[in-house]
């Protein structure tokens, strides 16, 4: 022990502690026995346990990176620490956590969880056999219970930790164990050193460990007993009490009564007595206790009351325990003993959490009075107290508490943090709950921060007692990761903020940003949404952009469209099988719109594919569908048609696409590429030309997603910005207008073009979308067989139509349900016949319009409909889905 003094602040008052303290031990040494009040019943509560099992003493740490809600028993004291007690509920800070967090991956032969004696022995065995070993322990010191007892760890075991094939992680908690030897552990690196938030070192490091074999040596936590007023400050677990007194020099307790079901209580009584606590009695429910620990208590002349247990406690003003009532298990012959510490030893509860995470069911061992895990496979094994390897003379009795009347049960606490009592358990049983999982949900037992570390087994024991069943007949304990509370920041590591998810931008992105365009997230892409001019909102900007596209010329960055390069002698045949229409007949230099379906016949993606060479196609996909489509192509090529010589590569990032659209786009295209004959005769719709554009070799395609005359200029990605700037410069006097995704959506909707994912949700056939014209009758393709299935060919399917609301300045919300007009005034719920998929105001139409999917829609064109909204019913009429230029006169300019 050094004489160094650590100053800290708790609930606004200054305290001192010393190195090696936890916040809990330092506070107890300062006689802070009444720690806080409970969350629901506001009962006084004190420190109850020694480590992660603590249900009462929660704090918020305000220094360093801070912690919202952690047990004071797990905080290593450092100078300057500021903490505040909590009444069960912490407030998330609204400030950013500025500490650094990190993660690392490790593959090892053996992972040992727990560096108590049995964990160390397992690590030694594997390490000496030459295997790579990681041994992880959550406490500040190696040794498990040995450290609590201040006993030396055998030197040969400590030597093992220094072997080159051994990685020893102390202050590290395995929070989760998963399939195939995968474990996640969180290492605490700085909080035990100082309150400083360090910039040169991560505060916590998450270890992702994959081990060929995992040894669980997770030890055990002590159980409390359930009796009336067992929650008063000064009622503690006996191992915790003895360790605070013995190891940490706590002098808060002058007298003690130990209430026990096993010999651990005797060992703790001896430790208390050796450190100046007057142990008034050991109260043992067993009739004939024996063993070394019992003899040791007798030698100290400590009275032993057998066949007795605690049934109630009394308190002094303020709530601290002042006496304990002992009686038989049935409550007979009660007797009051004054004491300021009631130390409980209700038996051990092996820490089975990690084992249950991977589906291992603990078994009830009557001799151990505990759920234990004895497991040995190639992947996992268990050892130590987890396997029931308790001290040889523990001899616990299966006992959870005395018989209590209703009033006693009302204040006999099972889960302190949830303020759940034996009475609550009875209510659950009387309500018909039997399974531990039902009781847990009914009573909230085991659902607090400690996840039932002290309450789990006694809950099962008490249900069993009430029903005359053994604890394992109630069900098995199941826990879920994480084992302790972990900051989200620790799990995220460096993947925060900008690094939390990749952001994809086009080569023209900087221009959009400089132009002040708000961005829309499309998958991971950032796409300009609209380009507002001074004083414009989105509505005004979109009307202006659309008008420019219909009357002059407008430009869009289409670089995000998915692009897949498809090559090989069988590429044409392959596309015939994938698309609903023919591609093998497509001439080189021509583009064709294609639709693809799943095997169920439902539209899956669409896009324009261009034949750039005899054996070479470039497919475009929806922006969000690119990866999915490439996977789809590969799946068919690899698993069904390996005979086809076809190779697919994503070229989305390699090609920049600038689309210029509108009646003046031909004029602009001619200026950009003076050598190119842009006349309709020389450069027809769906044709591709290779030409120089502003000095760059480009492929120009006459493709239109708006119905207007349009050109898509494709160049290697690094020329994208150059082309865009050329377009803006050359088109200045033509009212060249950049437009974003919103105008693109409006323009295509006016023309009745669908967007896969907006007009579709995976339940639309091409025919539902009115696209039967694109479905080949001559050839087979993926999904075709499904078109003749009863459900896909039935009458009454939802079909794509247009909707014109009567009120032309009202934009119906997308997703709104559509009802028959005759149902407009009936009470809710109204039978719906379809729903709105796209809805916009239109500059061209001078009014609002919508696309919708309506049952039998195409036959109902002209019918009146009603759209029930929360505050009114909107009326309108079903129309064709094409609102402008039905005869396609605009596309050729």
């Amino acid at each position: 022990m050094t004489n160094e003094i650590l100053n800290f602040t708790f609930d606004g008052s200054p305290y001192i502690g010393r190195p090696g303290d936890t916040l809990a031990s330092a506070l107890l040494r300062s006689n802070v026995v009444h720690f806080t009040d409970s969350s629901y019943k506001e009962r006084p509560r004190g420190i109850f346990g020694l480590w992660v099992e603590e249900p009462n003493a929660l704090v918020t740490v305000e220094t360093g990176a801070g912690e919202t809600m952690v047990p004071a028993t797990t905080i290593e004291l450092v100078d300057g620490l500021v903490a505040r007690s909590l009444q069960g509920v912490g407030d998330l800070p609204d400030t950013r956590d500025n500490a650094r967090y990190d993660k690392t991956n490790r593959h090892v032969d053996v992972l040992v969880v727990g560096a108590g004696l049995s964990g160390l022995m397992a690590a030694a065995e594997h390490a000496r056999a030459g295997r790579s070993v990681i041994i992880v322990d959550d406490k500040p010191e190696v040794g498990g219970h040995l450290a609590d007892l201040q006993r030396e760890v055998p030197a040969d075991l400590l030597d093992v930790l220094a072997l080159p094939n051994v990685t020893h992680l102390q202050r590290t908690t395995v929070i989760g164990l998963y399939d195939q030897g995968y474990a996640v552990a969180v290492e605490r690196r700085t909080d035990h050193v100082s309150t400083e938030v360090r910039s040169d070192m991560s505060r916590m490091r998450t270890w992702h460990i994959r081990a060929d074999h995992t040894v669980l040596a997770t030890g055990a936590l002590q159980r409390p007993l359930v009796f009336a007023n067992n929650d008063r400050p000064g009622v503690m677990l006996s191992h915790a009490a003895a360790t605070y007194v013995d190891k940490f020099g706590v002098e808060a307790f002058k007298t003690a009564v130990v209430v026990t079901v096993d010999n651990q209580g005797y060992r703790d009584a001896v430790r208390l007595a050796h450190n100046g606590v007057q142990v008034i009695a050991v109260v043992d429910i067993r009739s004939k206790p024996s063993g070394r620990a019992v003899e040791a208590v007798k030698e100290l002349k400590i009275p032993i009351f057998t066949n007795k247990t605690a049934v109630d406690t009394g308190a002094i003003a303020g709530g601290r325990v002042a006496n304990v009532t002992i009686a038989s298990a049935e409550g007979n012959n009660p007797e009051i003993i004054n004491t300021d510490l009631v130390a409980m030893s209700g038996g051990w509860t092996p820490t089975v959490h990690l084992a249950t995470y991977i589906g291992i069911k603990p078994t009830w061992d009557r001799a151990c009075a505990a759920f234990v895990v004895r497991h040995k496979t190639a992947l996992h094994s268990t050892t130590g107290m987890l396997s029931g390897d308790f001290a040889e003379d523990d001899e616990p009795m299966v006992f959870f508490g005395p018989i209590l009347d209703q009033q006693q049960a009302e204040v006999a606490f099972v889960d302190h943090q949830r303020d759940a009592t034996a009475r609550d358990l009875r209510r659950a049983i009387n309500a018909g709950m039997r399974s531990i999982e039902h009781v847990k949900r009914y009573t909230a037992i085991g659902t607090a921060h400690d996840q039932g570390k002290t309450s789990g087994t006694i809950t099962m024991g008490l249900i069993g007692q009430a029903l005359g069943l053994a604890p394992d007949e109630i069900g098995s304990l199941t826990f879920r990761p994480p084992y302790i509370q972990v900051p989200f920041a620790a799990l995220a590591g460096r993947d925060r903020g900008l690094l939390s998810d990749p952001v994809r931008t086009t080569p023209i992105h900087s221009w959009h940003v400089n132009a002040g365009a708000p961005m829309e997230d499309v998958g991971q892409w950032k796409r300009p949404w609209y380009f507002p001019q001074a004083g414009e909102d989105m509505h005004a900007a979109v009307l202006r952009e659309c008008a420019a596209a219909r009357n002059d010329v407008a430009v869009m960055d289409a670089s995000t469209l998915g692009k897949i390069d498809i090559q090989g002698p069988d590429a044409g045949i392959f596309l015939d099988r994938i698309y609903t229409n023919m591609f093998s007949t497509l001439k080189v230099g021509m583009s064709r719109y294609g639709l693809m379906c799943g095997v169920d016949g439902m539209v899956f993606d669409d896009g324009v594919t261009t034949r750039v060479g005899e054996n070479h196609f470039i497919m475009t996909t929806t922006t969000g569908g690119a990866a999915k489509v490439l996977d789809w192509l590969e799946e068919w090529l690899q698993t069904e048609w390996p005979d086809l010589k076809v190779y697919c590569t994503s070229v989305t990032e390699q090609i920049s696409t600038v689309a210029i659209i509108g009646p003046k786009s031909r004029e602009l295209m001619g200026r950009l590429s003076p050598g190119l004959d842009v006349s309709n005769e020389a450069f027809a719709f769906m044709e591709n030309k290779h030409a120089e554009v502003s000095g760059v070799a480009a492929r120009i395609a006459r493709i239109s997603f708006s119905g207007e005359l349009a050109y898509e200029i494709n160049v290697p990605a690094w020329y994208g910005l150059h082309i865009w700037e050329s377009v803006m410069r050359e088109g200045a006097d033509l009212n060249i207008t950049p437009y974003g995704t919103e105008s693109m959506h409006v323009l295509r909707a006016e023309k009745g073009f669908v967007i896969v994912g907006q007009e579709t949700d995976g339940t639309q056939t091409p025919d539902d979308l009115g696209m039967d014209w694109i479905v080949s009758k001559k050839k087979d393709f993926v999904g075709k067989r499904s078109f003749s299935r009863a459900d896909t060919s039935r009458a009454g399917r939802h079909q794509l139509v247009g909707i014109l609301p009567d009120q032309g300045d009202y934009v119906v919300p997308e997703g709104a349900y559509i009802a028959n007009a005759s149902d407009a005034n009936v009470a809710m719920p109204i039978k719906h016949i379809g729903y709105i998929t796209s809805s916009y105001p239109s500059a061209e139409l001078g009014r609002s319009f919508a696309l919708a999917l309506v049952a039998n829609g195409r036959e109902r064109i002209g019918e009146r409909i009603a759209i029930p909204m929360a505050d009114r019913v909107v009326t309108g009429v079903i129309t064709d889905s094409v609102f402008i230029d039905k005869e396609n006169s605009r596309r050729d300019g």
Partner: protein, 93 residues
């Protein structure tokens, strides 16, 4: 997280893969199959308790499809194998 044995790359973390459901579900000849059998092909998979031969694709690795035995109860993996190669025996343990 599963540890999946890609027959091309070796064992890798599950996050690198996409699942492709039951393996060896033959693509029926569309013009010869009944509606009922076609529906079975689209919607019905065997979903046994125990060993199942599955398809996976190593999408964040070699991008190749393969088959592998997996125990749906223990999540244990048996041998993996390339498409159109002989299927290894169903694991016994």
């Amino acid at each position: 997280m599963l540890h999946i044995p890609c027959p091309y790359c070796g064992p890798r973390d599950e996050t690198e893969f996409h699942y492709g459901a039951e393996a060896h579900v033959a693509y029926p000849e569309p013009n010869e199959v009944s509606d009922a059998d076609w529906a079975k092909y689209i919607f019905i998979r065997s979903n046994p308790k125990g060993w199942l031969a599955e398809r996976w694709v190593h999408s964040a690795g070699c991008r190749r499809w393969f088959n592998v035995w997996r125990n749906t109860v223990t999540h244990e993996f048996g041998p993996s194998y390339k498409p159109f190669t002989a299927q290894p025996e169903k694991p016994t343990s």
